[in-house]
């Protein structure tokens, strides 16, 4: 099965792909997607190009292709998640995979089983892919060392959430036609955000100018070495930005004395219409959700013309289809490597 069985037009070839000097890749090097850190720029472009074809599938009256027929995908979620799990499940079903959802409440973890044992038990039933959401950073790396199945990280602790960054990049590229040279401002709780880490990795690899901003208490150590500009002065980050990404402020952070109150956070960092005017006129407003209206983002902005928040959700399905297809769609990774 090749990509052309799904989409025989050449609309998947984008300006970014055309500009790349080496011949386009046809496969990912690894059996896993643990983080954007492990992907090259060419691999990122491959995922985004593939996602364009997948997006077309979602516009058909019958939104299903046989790409993963006979493949078993386990959605192993140790943290509650509605949007990511649903998005993966729809993606899997559109690719005709057999899917299985395991959530923490019904798993044997409550009985004291270790993650390793849970993984080995699943592995014995030979799934092709495991989509893992877990509260510990690096949980996917542990699974990857134990399992032959491919692992897709659907969010591990405060480490990475690679498919979120890929869908964000897809959404930006769809609007702006490119990632390179764009000024992207990411504002919010940087310290606890896996979305931030994946987006920084992806955007810097693709040549964007990345600025991050938030209260100094919520800026991780060593940000300078990430190749981004970190500032507590949000207006500097937002100034002339092409894209503004807002990160969720978890309300329990006040208990850790990271900032005094929601009201003060909103006053100093909240994305309001007046702050938005500092950015470029065609700025995009993004949020990985779920939003706290009136804390990190004013409702007028969330619901306003610059917001692409619902496009992100829609594109999430296409990007996850692309990742699943590239990792489980019959490509031999040993050979590809």
């Amino acid at each position: 099965m090749s990509l052309h069985d799904i989409d025989s037009t050449d609309q998947a070839v984008t300006p970014a792909a055309r500009d790349a000097a080496p011949p386009p890749l046809t496969a990912l090097r690894s059996k896993d997607l643990l983080g954007i850190a492990d992907l090259s720029a060419a691999e990122i472009t491959l995922v985004l190009d593939t996602a364009e074809a997948m997006k077309e599938v979602g516009t058909r009256p019958i939104k299903k292709v046989p790409a993963l027929r006979g493949k078993t995908v386990v959605n192993l979620f140790f943290e509650p998640s509605t949007r990511t799990r649903t998005s993966f499940e729809i993606a899997e079903k559109r690719l005709s995979a057999d899917t299985l959802n395991i959530a923490i409440a019904t798993s044997s973890v409550a009985k004291g089983e270790t993650l390793s044992d849970t993984a080995l038990t699943l592995e014995a039933m030979a799934p092709d892919m495991i989509v893992l959401r877990h509260s510990s950073s690096g949980a996917g790396h542990l699974l990857s060392r134990i399992c032959r199945s491919g692992i897709i990280n659907a969010g591990d602790g405060t480490h990475e959430h690679p498919t979120q960054a890929l869908l964000d990049a897809f959404t930006i590229r769809e609007r702006k036609g490119r990632l390179s040279g764009l000024k992207v401002a990411i504002v919010g709780d940087l310290l606890h955000s896996r979305v931030l880490r994946s987006n920084i990795q992806l955007l810097t690899k693709m040549g964007a100018d990345v600025w991050v901003s938030g209260p100094p208490t919520l800026i991780p150590a060593g940000m300078r070495d990430f190749g981004v500009t970190a500032t507590a002065h949000v207006d500097e980050a937002v100034g002339d930005a092409d894209v503004i990404m807002l990160l969720r402020i978890q309300l329990e952070r006040m208990e850790g004395a990271y900032f005094p109150s929601q009201r003060e956070y909103f006053n100093v960092f909240g994305m309001t219409e007046s702050r938005l005017r500092l950015a470029r006129p065609d700025v995009m407003i993004m949020h990985p959700g779920p939003m706290n209206r009136g804390v990190e983002i004013a409702s007028e902005v969330a619901d306003g013309p610059y917001s692409v928040i619902l496009d992100q959700v829609a594109n999430g399905v296409a990007v996850r289809m692309a990742v699943l297809y590239l990792l489980a769609g019959g490509v031999d990774h040993e050979e590809a490597a």
Binding site: A37, T114, L115, S116, H134, S136, S137, G138, A139, H141, L142, D156, G157, T158, H159, E160, R194, R197, P220, A221, G222, M223, D225, F226
Partner: protein, 436 residues
């Protein structure tokens, strides 16, 4: 029963000895160190050229896990690891189950050590009952039972007031208080050194200041009380600075550094194996500037001892998510090779200083036998092979713990043999010694 070790470089800084000498052992004591000692009925052992004889190495910071955590280590397996690592004596921390806060536990540890009959074991008693940081443990009872120091290791002494009292009280026996320095509120639920690598991996950070705050507190209280304080497992550059300042001011403070803290940095968190729980210990692997400050402190004399903080864990306990894994790595069977490879062969430290750090200083701090080859001293001798090529193989460790980030490392320098009380308790056939 006499034994004559003929030839070999003898290094005994306490007695100003560094040269080729013979060492005569009579029973469990050193009878003589000199040139051309006649055999006179003694069993003669020729020491091959290139080997070094020194007072037995002493690891003043290990966790033997017995009683109560025998799945991790026992006194028998821990002391077997010690002698294989060239150590003739170890001092073991009290965070067992139950905590070593009574003569009963101390006596149990000592009887297990006598049964194993390998390295000497010097228990360290708890500062507070149950190491809970509330009431003082029965320190005189612990001392009478054989404890050589007090510590609530694993945690700092809970409050400044309790630490002051403990220093004052233990001061009447001139017993050192060994402090695990850490401001617990600043450490929080951190699992790795706060810096770029922990940020990339999304691991909660522990700043070096969390440790240095504890060191500053300790130095101030040692000054206030005039008692002896020993700082365990230093890792942060600000800690070195605090100890250096304290020593300059005449405070009775000593400190130790573990081999992993003068060898590794937090870069190990991400590579070669990302989230390897064998790189998780407390204090954590810190950044290069901290690692370099540990080395500078060792070279300039601020650091008194190299101690391993040998912390064995069962592999099940380490085969989990990084933030759920216990802190700690084993160290007894890699310390000598790492010290040779990283400090001696790089020219930073010479052999007499090596012996000070690993033998004579620990003996002096804990006021225990050894650390010297003076006539009449215990015949505890380590025979070292500075040029032996060693490949670390965790599976062949004597320790029950295999939790080391050094597995597979090639190092220059190792152990040839270990003699405790005149008795050979370990021989490494690869080092070329016969008939020992």
């Amino acid at each position: 029963m006499k034994k004559l070790l003929k030839g070999g470089r003898v290094v005994d800084p306490r007695n100003g000895i560094d040269g080729t000498y013979d060492v005569l052992i009579d029973g469990d004591r050193i009878a003589r160190v000199g040139r051309d000692i006649p055999a006179d009925g003694a069993t003669v052992v020729e020491i091959p050229p290139g080997l070094v004889l020194c007072p037995g190495l002493i690891d003043m910071h290990v966790h033997l896990r017995e009683p109560g955590q025998e799945h991790k280590e026992t006194v028998a397996t821990g002391t077997a690891a010690a002698v294989a690592g060239g150590f003739t004596a170890v001092a073991c921390m009290p965070n067992t189950t139950p905590v070593n806060d009574s003569a009963n536990v101390t006596t149990q540890i000592l009887s297990k050590a006598a049964e194993a009959n390998l390295a000497r074991v010097y228990p360290i008693g708890a500062v507070s009952k149950g190491s809970k940081g509330e009431l003082l443990a029965d320190i005189a009872e612990l001392r009478d039972a054989g404890c050589v120091a007090i510590s609530d290791d694993g945690h700092p002494v809970a409050t400044a007031l309790l630490m002051r009292r403990a220093l004052e009280y233990a001061g009447m026996f001139d017993m050192p208080l060994i402090e695990h320095c850490e401001d617990q509120s600043l450490k929080g639920d951190g699992v790795a050194h706060e810096g770029f690598h922990a940020s990339v991996l999304g691991l909660r950070g522990i700043p070096g200041a969390a440790e240095a705050l504890g060191v500053e507190r300790g130095v101030l209280l040692a000054e206030l009380t005039g008692s002896r304080l020993h700082i365990a497992h230093m890792s942060a550059r600000a800690s070195i600075r605090a100890v250096r300042k304290g020593k300059e001011a005449g405070v009775r403070v000593t400190c130790e550094v573990a081999p992993h803290h003068f060898t590794l940095t937090d870069e190990m968190l991400g590579a070669p194996v990302a989230y390897d729980t064998n790189t998780k210990m407390n204090p954590p692997l810190r950044e290069a500037a901290d690692r370099d400050a540990m080395i500078a402190g060792i070279v300039d004399g601020t650091v008194d001892a190299i101690a391993t903080d040998h912390a064995p864990h069962h592999y099940d306990e380490k085969q989990v998510e990084f933030d759920r894994a216990p802190f700690g790595i084993v160290g007894l069977e890699t310390a000598v090779s790492l010290t040779f490879d990283r400090l001696l062969h790089s020219g930073l430290v010479r052999l007499p200083r090596f012996v000070e750090l690993l033998s004579s200083n620990p003996a002096q701090i804990l006021k225990i036998p050894g650390g010297s080859l003076a006539v009449g001293a215990v015949a505890d001798i380590s025979i070292l092979a500075p040029d032996l090529k060693v490949r670390v193989d965790a599976r062949s460790f004597r320790s029950r713990g295999r939790n080391t980030p050094f597995d597979g490392w090639q190092l220059r320098g190792g152990v040839a043999a270990t003699i405790v009380g005149g008795r050979t308790v370990f021989t490494n056939v690869e080092a070329g010694l016969k008939n020992l």
